[in-house]
């Protein structure tokens, strides 16, 4: 069938319009052949929000911002075109928050738990200040701080510079100069003493050599001495063995003495001998006293004396 030009044109235009419309709807993220579900949210401010901003539930995109309208009360009415057949429950909150580090915004919907909101209904709006907006809000403060710190730093630096300029520099220079001189002197000293040190080392060497010669000459003598020492130590060992026996025996005897065995033991442990001796002494004392006082009494019978 041969198509007329009018028909061709008609088909082209209709197809183009349909395809263009479908493409437009797809790019707008709206359902192609039915109206999207539109909800409205009122915000006090919508910094960073724009038409086409994603609307997310648990991180999944379910729609986008369709329009932003400034209301007479300076609040902003945002229309959200959402692609959710089951709708949103009562009490759902649409939160504007940063979705990345650079502060671009998205709307996250926290589902409520009530009955479904009818299409075209209103959600509650919340604005979540992101890190960057906070930073930019406090930016002046931070800048002031940084400025103050920088000023302080620069004043410190200039003070240091001033100190260096008046006097400190001279001190430092003289210090460095002293150090240099000291190093040079140490250097000279070492250079001068080099010969002495070398001589000392030589002497030490000689000494060691002599010592070595001496030991090699007297080796036989030394060996003999060591052998004698060995014999002596052997004798000492034997002696100490006998001593050990002796002391063991002695300790046995002493033990016996302690226990009061034998004569000595009895003598030491039994006080009766002492008592007897004591009594004897006392008696003897008395007797001698008696003899002194009355010699006649005892000497009466001695004829020789009786002469007197």
């Amino acid at each position: 069938m041969r198509l007329g030009n009018e028909l061709k044109i008609g088909i082209t235009i209709v197809v183009a319009v349909l395809v263009g419309f479908a493409g437009f709807r797809i790019m707008k993220d709206a359902p192609i052949f039915r109206l999207g579900t539109v909800y409205y949210v009122d915000y006090a401010k919508v910094d960073g929000l724009s038409v086409g901003t994603s609307v997310l539930v648990s991180g999944i995109k379910i729609g986008s911002v369709q329009s932003l309208r400034l209301m007479p009360s300076d609040s902003v009415r945002v229309a959200l075109s959402l692609n959710i057949p089951q709708g949103l429950p009562e009490g759902s909150v649409a939160v504007i928050r940063s979705v990345d580090l650079l502060g671009s915004k998205g709307i996250e919907i926290r589902r409520g738990s009530g009955s479904a909101i009818p299409y075209g209904g209103f959600l509650q709006g919340e604005f979540d200040e992101g890190l960057f907006s906070e930073l930019s809000e406090r930016g002046e403060e931070i800048t002031d701080n940084v400025t103050a710190s920088t000023e302080r730093l620069s004043s410190i630096l200039s003070e240091v510079e001033g100190m260096l300029r008046d006097g400190m520099r001279a001190d430092l220079e003289s210090g460095v100069g002293n150090l240099e001189r000291a190093t040079r002197q140490a250097d000279e000293l070492i250079a001068e003493s080099r010969r002495d040190i070398a001589a000392s080392l030589e002497n030490l060497n000689d000494l060691l050599a002599n010592l070595e010669a001496l030991t090699s000459e007297e080796r036989g003598e030394i060996q003999r001495t060591i052998a004698n020492l060995e014999v002596a130590s052997e004798d000492l060992r034997e002696m100490s063995g006998s001593l050990k026996t002796v002391s063991a025996e002695l300790s046995e005897i002493l033990q016996k003495v302690n226990q009061g065995e034998g004569t000595i033991g009895k003598m030491i442990n039994d006080p009766s001998l002492y008592n007897n001796l004591d009594t004897l002494t006392v008696n003897l004392n008395n007797l001698i006293k008696d003899i002194n006082e009355n010699p006649r009494h005892f000497l009466r019978h001695l004829r020789l004396i009786d002469v007197f």
Partner: protein, 245 residues
């Protein structure tokens, strides 16, 4: 001097055309055949051009954006917005400068040198109404259609290239494309395509209508029609961007 003469002749031709634009009956039949030749028959080549432009744009953008800080959706945003604002209209304009401009200039030039235009005039036809108006109007009316075809095939090509090279997924691509999709961009593209349709067809008609000097003259007119159409497409694109954006 030559420049002012040319502008004057061109303006006069346009004036004649606009003056007789109401004589719809005279050129109705020609209009539809011109619309088919200019619009419907060009859809194929324009779609192919748009498709590959979009594909190349996606691949090259993803090649250039290697930073981890830039989300992949940016690729989709760049491809689709470039296609919608600029490339769909300009690429199709450049392609059709060759395809449509050359045809119009050759047709009218041949009619001129073989004295068919004079014959029409002597038969009492207004040659401008009969020959120029349908071509220019067809250009203005069909270029938006061609723009739509180029834009859609360009974005399709971008998406497919993204999938095939694995540089960007459909979801990422469309997310970026939607984030930077503004209805005004489409309107701007359509305005552009109206202008391009007018520029290409009117310049080609002018070159063909005033052709002279036999076969060589027709060739000369065709060359000039093609070259000037290209230049004025780019120039008018620049002016529109400067004025409207």
């Amino acid at each position: 001097m030559q420049l002012f003469l040319e502008i004057g002749k061109y303006s006069r031709l346009l004036y004649e055309a606009i003056r007789s634009a109401t004589e719809f009956k005279t050129y109705r039949k020609n209009l539809f055949s011109e619309m088919v030749k200019t619009g419907t028959d060009s859809l194929g080549i324009v779609s192919v051009a748009g498709f590959f432009t979009g594909a190349v744009l996606t691949i090259q953008t993803s090649y250039q954006f290697t930073s981890a800080l830039i989300p992949k959706s940016t690729i989709g945003a760049i491809t689709s917005q470039s296609m919608i604002i600029e490339l769909a209209a300009v690429i199709s304009g450049l392609v059709l400068s060759g395809r449509v401009g050359a045809r119009i200039a050759t047709e009218l030039g041949n009619m001129r040198v073989s004295e068919q235009i004079d014959a029409l005039e002597s038969m009492g036809f207004n040659s401008v109404t009969f020959l120029v108006i349908p071509r220019v109007v067809a250009g203005i009316l069909t270029f938006p259609i061609i723009y739509i075809a180029a834009a859609i095939s360009g974005i399709t090509g971008g998406v497919l290239a993204g999938i095939m090279t694995g540089s960007v997924t459909v979801h990422e691509f469309m997310e970026g494309a939607r984030m930077f999709f503004f209805p005004w961009d489409v309107a701007f593209g359509i305005i552009k395509s109206f202008v391009f349709g007018f520029v290409i067809t009117s310049i080609s008609c002018y070159q063909g209508y005033f052709a002279s000097g036999g076969a060589e003259g027709v060739g000369h007119a065709t060359t000039r029609a093609t070259v000037l159409s290209c230049i004025y497409v780019l120039l008018s694109s620049f002016l529109l961007a400067a004025i409207l954006l």
